[in-house]
């Protein structure tokens, strides 16, 4: 078989290589470059080695933001995943009602992030907002710009409002893919509603749920726009999540070096946690398969 070896096909990859280089690799390497240097402006840079990394790892400010970030992601996953499943289960299965429901459910997903923040900022204002005003009229003291707990509650409510639909729609798709025969068999076997959920619906939703959890984790871990518009990270630093902190450092204080080191570590943490998530879920799946 005298096959001609022709390596010229590699040239066809060049356009995409250039695209990726300019959109990700070069900017990323610039950040890497910054993270090892210090500057006092005037485009003069000094090599500082691992100094920024060392400093950041001992910075209380960063660890606090990291802790808040983990807590936030944990809480919204805890609310959005079960709530999304519940919504998906109670959505109509076919007909006009199903279509209307789907459109309504997708609306929050289509709203630009900063508009979501603005909506909730107005909604929660104690003087004119529907929510804030109602609560204060009811005699409940509520002020998201002064009380840390209120701020957290509002940010979480906003995220749940914004993103539960995504989980619900994914689960809905998973549910719709279950053939009717399963429900009929369950009826014949006299399975309870809980059994139907536990042994038919949940196993069939497993795949989409994994994707939902992963997406929601990554997104919530990188959340910036909505809490920034709503609380600006306040009161104090109460809702300053990692990315808000990062922007403060990079643009507010213009500490390019530490901010670069910060973003690289941030990136690695997300990568690491997502990887662990993914591996654990995949291997749990394989264990099921094997046993």
């Amino acid at each position: 078989m005298g096959k001609t070896v022709n390596q010229r096909a590699w040239f066809l990859v060049i356009p995409v290589l250039i695209l990726v280089a300019f959109s990700s690799i070069i900017p990323m390497m610039t950040v890497v470059n910054y993270s090892f240097q210090d500057t006092f402006g005037g485009n003069e840079f000094f090599w500082v080695g691992l100094e920024w990394y060392r400093e950041l790892l001992h910075s209380e400010r960063l660890w606090d933001a990291f802790g808040r970030q983990l807590l936030f992601s944990f809480i919204i996953l805890l609310i959005e995943v079960p709530l999304g499943i519940l919504v998906a289960l109670s959505m109509p299965k076919k007909g006009m009602a199903a279509s209307i429901c789907l459109v309504l459910m997708s609306l929050p997903l289509l709203i630009p992030y900063n508009v979501v923040g603005t909506i909730w900022q107005v909604f929660g204002r104690p003087d004119i907002g529907l929510l804030g005003r109602t609560l204060s009229d009811l005699g409940i003291s509520y002020n998201y710009s002064q009380n840390a707990f209120d701020a957290w509650a509002t940010v979480i409510a906003m995220d749940v409002w914004h993103w539960t639909s995504l989980v619900a729609l994914l689960c809905y798709a998973g549910l719709r893919s279950i053939p009717n025969a399963y429900y009929q068999a369950a009826m014949i076997d006299q399975a309870s509603r809980w059994s139907v959920f536990r042994y038919i619906e949940l196993p069939k939703m497993r795949g989409v749920l994994m994707i939902a959890v992963l997406l929601r984790f990554m997104d919530s871990f990188m959340i910036y726009t909505e809490p920034f518009v709503l609380t600006g990270g306040g009161p104090g630093n109460a809702t300053t999540f990692l990315s808000i902190d990062l922007v403060k450092m990079a643009l507010g204080q213009f500490d390019l070096g530490p901010a670069a080191a910060f973003s690289l570590m941030y990136f690695l943490v997300i990568l690491l946690i997502s990887y662990v998530f993914y591996t654990v879920m995949i291997s749990a799946d394989k264990d099921e398969e094997r046993s």
């Binding site: 009929q184 068999a185 014949i188 076997d189 196993p203």
Partner: protein
Amino acid sequence: MASVTLENLAHSYRPNPGEDNDFALKEVNYTWEDGRAYALLGPSGCGKTTLLNLISGLLTPTHGRVLFGDEDVTASSTADRNIAQVFQFPVVYDTMTVEQNLAFPLRNRRMEASYVAERVARIAKMIGLEADLKKKARGLTSDLKQKISLARGMVRDDVNAILFDEPLTVIDPHMKWELRTQLKSLHREFGHTMIYVTHDQTEALTFAEKVVVMHEGRVVQIGTPKELFETPAHSFVGYFIGSPGMNFIPVTVAGNIIQMGDRTIHLAHDYGTPSGELKLGIRPEFVRLTKGDGLPIRINRVQDAGRHKFVNATLFDTEINIAVDEGCEIEADMTSVNLDAEKISIFCDDWRIDGKSAGHVEGSAT
């Protein structure tokens, strides 16, 4: 166990059915006797699954009644009817083990643990799932999964009937035969009433004692495989059963003499002077190739199908098939056919009509 009676049963998926064509299942009256094996045979979309779902209670009929024994179950839920159903695709609870799958219907009915264990062990042994009891259901092959769903139905000792909805569709060909054989022996051993829906005539004819043939929402014939083959009540049965199906040749009939092209044939029976569209029907197996004696044909092609050769020929502008035994040579001067007069059926507007001196002809419906 009980017999299943269908009384004026009909079903339409439309809200206000008017004419006949609105009905997915047109009116049917029949009693499925206790402990027998039936097959519901027909092409896709003929209403056989509708009929099955009416019996199992997954659908409520537009009108008519379903009785199990003497009890009217038309309004009862599927669970109350105490039937088992095996679906087209294996329906198993993936995350459970085989054992848990079998125990599931019993546990849901709050049976005692010792009874459940004993029952599961017994059924597993019967169906040949013993070795797999501890395995998770999801990793198993589809024939094993189909066995699980069958076993899940049989694990209750009080099932009224076991319904099969094309259960072998996704099974590998070499396993089909084995499962079918096993079904038959389970039926012989336990005598459940079994109703088996299929579009495969081989499956229907080998499995069932009685075959119900459906066509366009109507039950056209109920009979033994032999009756369906020899005396089809409707031209559809003739065409659908047998491979290739019955030959149909347009004719005119007067008494026991039929006119076909420019020839006349004398029949064994007297049909009077029926009015309507008349056709002569004869199976390829009962047409014989001859040298010059009989009706003239032109041979188009010969197909070897193992035990038979099938000759496709033209007889008075109508294509017919002739079955020739493997041993027989087809010679160049074989240009005529003889029809076995005893085996000729006459159809008037697609329904079989009986000749006067006919012996027993059963199962015709109008």
